[in-house]
């Protein structure tokens, strides 16, 4: 394994841990807006994974569409729901 490959593995491991953590937080957060924000974090980690696997265009598009547009949509959709404190 060359230096570059081992570096790639480390970055992949970090991103995978971040992705799994944010994904778990999405379904376990008590606050629905926190879930939405963690989901955006998961999108960002996925975008970096795309870039790591040499698909830079898809990665940037992931940031552009999912964080920039779908994220806003999800947040506005969340804002349509009733919020019960501690619910």
């Amino acid at each position: 394994m060359t230096l570059g490959e081992s570096f790639e593995m480390i970055v992949f491991a970090v991103l995978a841990v971040v992705l799994i953590f944010t994904a778990i937080m999405v379904i376990t957060s008590k606050e629905i807006v926190h879930s939405a924000l963690y989901l955006l974090g998961a999108f960002a980690a996925v975008a970096m994974l795309y870039i790591l696997s040499n698909a830079a265009f898809v990665g940037i598009v992931q940031i552009f569409v999912y964080i920039g547009a779908i994220g806003i949509l999800i947040i506005f959709a969340v804002m349509l729901t009733t919020r019960e404190v501690g619910g």
């Binding site: 970055v11 804002m79 349509l80």
Partner: protein
């Protein structure tokens, strides 16, 4: 490690630092600023009165309409990027005769259907009109 990844190493370095720098600044600031928490100082600002109710409430549906139109247009603009790079690429044009005409025609139809009709529909439905 492949060559294209190498371009993104500076970005990774800067990403790490861009996320660390604010915390470092806040740590330094924490050492030098005074700390005097007080009950009234720490209340939510609402024109000097005691805050009434919660701020994190339900919001108007018109924001959602704007967002959904935005997603539509954002993705459409994104479809234009790969098209713009290759519609007059000389390699593609030599390989496929009549490519340019077909590319421009296809994109015109797509834009008329998606952008123009979509915009007109959203406009007519009043998605862009601010409701109060």
């Amino acid at each position: 490690m492949t060559d294209a990844i190498l371009d993104y190493i500076p970005i990774a370095v800067m990403l790490v630092f861009a996320l660390i720098i604010p915390f470092v600044i806040m740590f330094i600031v924490k050492q030098i600023t005074p700390r005097n928490p007080a009950r009234f100082k720490n209340t939510t600002y609402e024109g000097g009165k005691d805050p009434i109710g919660e701020a994190q409430v339900r919001f108007n549906v018109s924001y959602y309409l704007l967002a959904i139109v935005f997603v539509l247009f954002d993705v459409e603009v994104l479809f234009l990027y790969p098209w713009a790079v290759c519609y007059k690429n000389s390699v593609v044009m030599e390989a496929i005769p009549g490519f340019q005409l077909a590319a421009v025609g296809a994109m015109t139809i797509f834009l008329i259907i998606a952008l123009v009709i979509g915009d007109a529909y959203a406009w007519k439905k009043g998605a862009f009109t601010w409701t109060r």
